[in-house]
Amino acid sequence: MRHEIWSKFCGFIDLPLDDFMRVQASYLLEQLDFLGRSDIGRKFLGNKAPRSVEEFRERVPLTSYDDYYPFFSERNDEGLPEKPYVWCRTSGRSGIYPFKWIPFTRQAFNKHSEHAMATVIFGGCSKRGEIVMEPGDTILYALAPRPYMSGAIMADGLVHQFDFNFLPDIKTAEGMSFQDRTKVGFQLALKKGLDFFLGIASVLVAVGERFERGEGGGFSRELLHPATLRRILGGVMKSKVKRREMLPKDVWNLKCVGTGGTDTQVYRKRIAHYWGKEPVEAYGCTEGGIISIQTWGRRGLVFVPDTNFLEFLPVEPPAGPDGITRAQVAAARAVAERNGRGETRAPIRTAGEAVGGTLLLDQLQEGVTYEIVLSNFLGGCLVRYRTGDIVRINTKGDPELGIQIPHMHFFGREQDIIDLSGFTRLTEVILWKALEESGVRYTDWVCRKEYDGDRVFLRLYVEPKEARPEKEIRDLVHEQLREIDHDYAALVEITGRVPLEVTLLPQGAFSGYMAEMARRGVELAHLKPRRMGPPAGNLGLLQRAGAP
């Protein structure tokens, strides 16, 4: 029944914060008891597992992947508390490791797949308790396949939970490349309809742009299928009535668009324009699975209570907003370093109530950024693991929707944040948004912090799709940055300088770069250069790759 389905998958948003914290504590204590019986558990918890949340936070140091590498690198089950149900790996380069392997138990897999369902339900509903999915609904997923977390948890988890009709079906899709799978998926969607889309936002935007430009895929026999024909004719009629080019929303009536990653925030409006549905976001990482989900109100992402124990390392805010002194920062950093093993990567803001250098969810403040520290529940192995992911707390709850759990937004990966003169911390999302809003048509971009004597500035390397002078692009992006980021605006006002330069890359720079990387046998996830602060070598290759 719909009420039961809603309660089972989405009911966690009704938890008062106290109950949320109780779930966290209860799961943590069970997990400590369970983990403490394994070699890996004893390594972090000692011979006697902590008996309370406070003891856990005081006694157990913060950890990084280095601590787990000996256990995980060979995907060896020995030393783990339970034989993993699935091993997942990160998609991108992770520090000194090409990627990270993370084990998931059966219980954890089930729980994450429940939250994948919650994402789909929230994406489709417009009010509390509404469930629009039905057995046999079609779903197109443009996600990385197994063993990436997105494929293993989102796709396989949904198969496990509900009778969706995958386009193409999971087994067929496993043998296909990402591009082929997406292409076949859309072809099938023309025939069978499309109810749900899960995947990368840019794929949706790319398809929308092709529709808008009237670029069809050419004639093929599949188009003669009656169902396809009916759908296309319906779309043509709708577009004619509205006197514009046919858009995807004329052809398909999507129930839900589910996306993740930084591009969602950038493309949100365009996706709604092309597809008639605002995307719902989920935030997660391979190490922690699904951590927070956006609800139908689309105001930030709500934390889920039962996948990880969540702690938050306060990150230094941009210049002096709430009276935190440097000394306090230094003190808090010292605490974190003492509890952690090595260097503290992100500067820590102090908090008198912080235990072991971290805060809990019920201690967070609105508008402040934090690094997420997580400990897996349900037989997982990570303990007080620093994710390096920075999130901003939007609100402590949403009274309009009756949600009492804090909401967050993904701010950026700690390694991808560029600190400009201590005034502002620019993320990939901010820069990407500015470029999008500037109206400049581009293929792709990267950005670095550079120095010219005592001047510190950003240099944006853009491969444009149209001929425009560098200065014009710089001015347009600069204006948008001032609008989007108040700290950037403050920096400009105080220094009286424009801390941005633009360098145009030759046409084909990014495709050439990717071709070169593919030739070198680099993995799919590393084909593209890092957007924020790419190494000088990568920049050189970009410039060479696009050269005639």
Binding site: M1, H3, E4, S7, K8, G11, F12, I13, D14, L15, D19, R22, V23, S26, Y27, L29, E30, F34, Q107, G124, E130, I131, V132, E134, P135, G136, D163, K255, P305, D306, L378
Partner: protein, 819 residues
């Protein structure tokens, strides 16, 4: 309403179409009735076409609606065909209505219109029957497979709605009934039912509705019938007697009948229940009234078994388990199981766990579905959930006594696979409410009984128990001729522990022995604390040979136990003398006396063996030599400094008490004992005239005296056995705050806080206390109150506050040894 609710799901869309088809049908039907009333055929054929096409379309859309609602994974093509059929029927009725109705004639007698059916009218019934059959089979399958009472209820509502429509449609085919708007009423009710099923979250259980209606019918039928009969009979009788009757008289008879027959109301309700529920009524009634009877059962096992049997019979459950709170273990343990697949070794649940907490807070039954879907239940972690799954528990019912969870029932599935209905849950909750009181009483009784019959120190049975059990065993002995053996046990060497380490230490040994005996005797018999250090094991159904075996096993186990026990000091070996005696035609008291005598014989034999062994091994054992050494050294101090006579022993006894209170391990207590006894041994290195001087000491003399901890350490380090005590001796004059200045400086090393060994901190406090309260040649001792005040003043400065706290607690308890 449905359209407003949501158009996004297929079920809602089909329901909207389905309701549209009903409207189409009803409009035609209404127009037929109006036309009939006007008496002119007019467009009657059109309205009849609408009736036929509307009903055909209605039945055609029923299958897609049911398919979308129940979501079975079958017959998708048939569903599509069914949808097309409905569409086709409507289209045909619009464009070619003569395919269904060719014309209308008037019935010669009734004057009603009779439709003349076209070529497609009857054949269209064939697919209608087929589709209806498939839809019905979906509902029956879903009903049978569903474990949700709520979902089953919904299906029942759907089926009743459908049955009403079939009745209405059939009524149209009957010439007599055709004139009445039966189909209209049936369709209206069905439309309401369908909408309610789809839109409303909670539906009243259909069984409850039916039961209530049935009760009213039975009551009305019987009571009204009897009233009417009474009035008629009264009137007739009175007419015969009085010759007349009137309204007032009838009313009077009616009132009397109501008053006299009022008790019948309950009888009719019970009759209705019996007719409605059949045999289940008996069980429900028994369960309802049984709870009261439970209060009289005080035996916990009996009570648990009775409760479970009752529950499993009433609800015909596969298994039901009773989990009882065990205070000592902070656990809910499976006390008993009922039903065919009950597992008496079911896993226990932590009393601090979330399941217990949630049951206590909720105070109402919790279903497996609740666990899955209620947000606040998410705090119940997966291992507790896994245990419940392992049990197959579908319903957990808390038993609360004064808002504290004392037990809970975990009931499995019913054997007929029907779900737990709301009525079942309410009944079980009411039962649990009363059973909790009974259970509380039984537990209290059991606890009181246990306390009355057990020795509080060792936890073994006491002599009162023996007085109860021995006559019973004696009766069995005489009546059934069953053997009985008694095993008397006496501890050899125990007294020395009391003398040497104090009674508290001795008690710890007895506690250990109590645990040991309970484990060893187990189910074989009863272990009783007979006297101070004497124990008795009663072994029913045990003959001489078996008793001998048990004695030998226990003898060996005692040797191992004494070897391994941390409380047993090798310097003071412990042993057990065992005397066994079996019935041999005597009464229990005689056997007891004989067992006692046998034990004494064993004791004498051991004494003989020991003295012979001592003679053979001429050099005395090292342990006792060492002990003698310690005692001898302590006596030297007494002789050298007369005013310190007895000081060391007093400090030692009180230090041991404080050490035990602070949770020291047995071996640590022994080291502390040695250190406390010898803490002033270094004084023998100081000139006698200085240590005995009665006036104030010069600075040099003070310096000489302050060397005694270091000297003491050097002395006792010479003796291997005493070496662990050396640090406590060296540091017993350190100050807790580490101060080396002032009238009472810390020395010799100026250690501070926890850097000072705990033994030394204990001795420092006890030494000061004894020094303050003891008389000296130059002053009388202070009062206890003054000493306490002084200790409190020095707490945290001169003395460890924890140690001071422990000592004060002992002093306030009055357990300080008399001087």
């Amino acid at each position: 309403m449905v359209l407003r609710h949501s158009r996004k799901t297929r079920a809602n869309r089909y329901l909207a179409l389905y309701l549209g088809a009903i409207g189409y049908w009803q409009f035609g039907s209404l127009m037929v009735t109006i036309t009939s009333m006007e008496g002119s055929a007019g467009a009657a054929d059109l309205w009849y076409t609408m009736v036929v096409a509307g009903s055909g379309s209605y039945f055609g859309l029923y299958l897609p609606f049911i398919h979308a609602f129940l979501q079975p994974d079958r017959f998708r093509t048939l569903v599509k065909l069914s949808y097309l059929f409905s569409l086709g029927v409507i289209l045909i009725s619009v464009f070619s209505r003569e395919m269904f109705i060719t014309g209308v004639s008037t019935h010669p007698k009734t004057g009603l219109f009779i439709p003349e059916l076209g070529p497609l009218a009857m054949p269209s019934l064939i697919p209608v029957f087929g589709m209806s059959f498939v839809a019905l089979s979906f509902q029956i399958t879903a009903f049978r497979h569903s474990r949700s009472a709520e979902f089953r209820n919904r299906i029942l509502y759907l089926m009743i709605g459908y049955a009403l429509v079939v009745i209405g449609a059939t009524a149209n085919m009957n010439e007599t009934l055709r004139g009445y708007p039966i189909d209209v009423a049936a369709n209206l009710v069905n439309a309401v039912l369908l909408t309610v099923v789809l839109v409303r979250r909670e539906l009243v259980e259909l069984e409850t509705v039916a039961h209530r209606a049935f009760s009213y019918v039975v009551a009305v039928f019987f009571i009204t019938g009897i009233y009417v009969a009474a009035i008629l009979a009264g009137e007739r009788y009175l007419r015969g007697v009085l010759g007349y009757t009137g309204l007032a008289l009838s009313f009077g008879i009616g009132v009397i009948a109501v008053l006299v027959l009022y008790p019948l109301r309950e009888w009719t309700v019970s009759l209705a229940d019996r007719l409605f529920y059949g045999q289940r009524t008996d069980y429900y009634e028994r369960l309802r009234h049984f709870a009261g009877a439970l209060a009289r059962i005080l035996d916990l096992d009996h009570l648990a078994r009775t409760m479970l049997e009752m529950v499993s019979r009433t609800f015909d459950v596969d298994n039901v388990h009773l989990f009882l709170w065990e205070r000592d273990r902070e656990t809910f343990v499976c006390w008993a199981g009922g039903g065919l697949s009950a597992n008496p070794k079911a896993p226990s649940f932590s009393a601090r766990g979330e399941l217990a907490r949630r049951l206590e807070t909720l105070g109402a039954p919790l279903t497996a579905l609740d666990l899955e879907i209620r947000p606040e239940m998410r705090s119940i972690p997966w291992q507790e959930r896994a245990k419940l799954e392992e049990l197959g528990a579908e319903l957990m019912v808390p038993l609360l006594s004064r808002e504290t969870l004392i037990a809970f029932l975990a009931a499995g599935p019913k054997r007929n696979l029907s779900p737990w209905y709301r009525r079942d849950i309410e009944l079980l909750a009411a039962f649990a409410d009363q059973a909790a009181t009974a259970l509380g009483n039984a537990r209290y009784f059991e606890e009181t009984r246990r306390l009355a019959l057990t020795d509080p120190l060792t936890g073994l049975y006491n002599r009162r128990f023996l007085r109860e059990v021995l006559p019973q065993e004696e009766k069995r002995l005489q009546a059934e001729g069953l053997p009985l053996a008694l095993l008397m046990i006496d501890l050899w060497g125990y007294k020395k522990y009391n003398d040497r380490y104090g009674h508290q230490y001795g008690d710890e040994i007895l506690k250990e022995i109590g645990r040991f005996l309970r484990d060893e005797v187990g189910e074989k018999g009863y272990a009783v604390r007979y006297g101070g250090d004497e124990f008795l094991v009663v072994l029913p159904d045990t003959d001489e040979q078996t008793g001998g075996l048990i004695r030998d096993q226990l003898d060996k186990a005692f040797v191992d136990f004494f070897d391994c026990s941390p409380w047993v000091d090798p310097e003071f070996p412990l042993a057990a003398n065992l005397g066994l005696e079996t019935a041999g035609g005597r009464d229990a008291q005689e056997i007891l006396a004989a067992a006692d005598a046998a034990m004494y014989r064993d004791k004498e034999k051991m004494a003989e063996n020991t003295s012979r062994a001592q003679e053979q091994t001429e050099p005395p054992q090292r342990a006792s030599l060492s002990l003698d050494t310690v005692m001898g050294l302590a006596r030297i101090v007494d002789q050298l400094v007369p005013y310190l006579a007895g000081h060391a022993e007093r400090v030692e006894r009180l230090s041991v008490e404080v050490g035990l209170a602070l949770g020291l391990q047995p071996r640590e207590v022994k080291v502390l004992s040695h250190a406390a006894l010898l803490h002033d041994i270094g004084l023998i290195a100081s000139p006698t005239e200085v240590s005995n001087k009665q006036g104030p000491l010069t600075r040099e003399e003070i310096a000489q005296i302050r060397r005694h901890p270091v000297a003491g350490e050097a002395i006792i380090c010479c003796i291997e056995l005493l070496r662990p005590a050396a640090p406590s001796v060296r540091h017993h004059h350190e100050r807790y705050d580490g101060l080396r200045e002032g009238p009472f400086p810390g020395y010799p090393d100026g250690l501070q806080g926890k850097a000072i060994p705990l033994g030394a901190r204990i001795i420092a406090v006890v030494d000061a206390y004894d020094a303050m309260t003891a008389d000296r040649p130059y002053r009388t001792g202070r009062s206890l109150e003054e000493a306490v005040k002084e200790l409190e003043r020095g707490s945290g400065r001169q003395f460890d506050p924890n140690v001071v706290g422990a000592l004060l607690k002992i002093l306030r308890r009055g357990s300080v040894l008399p001087r």
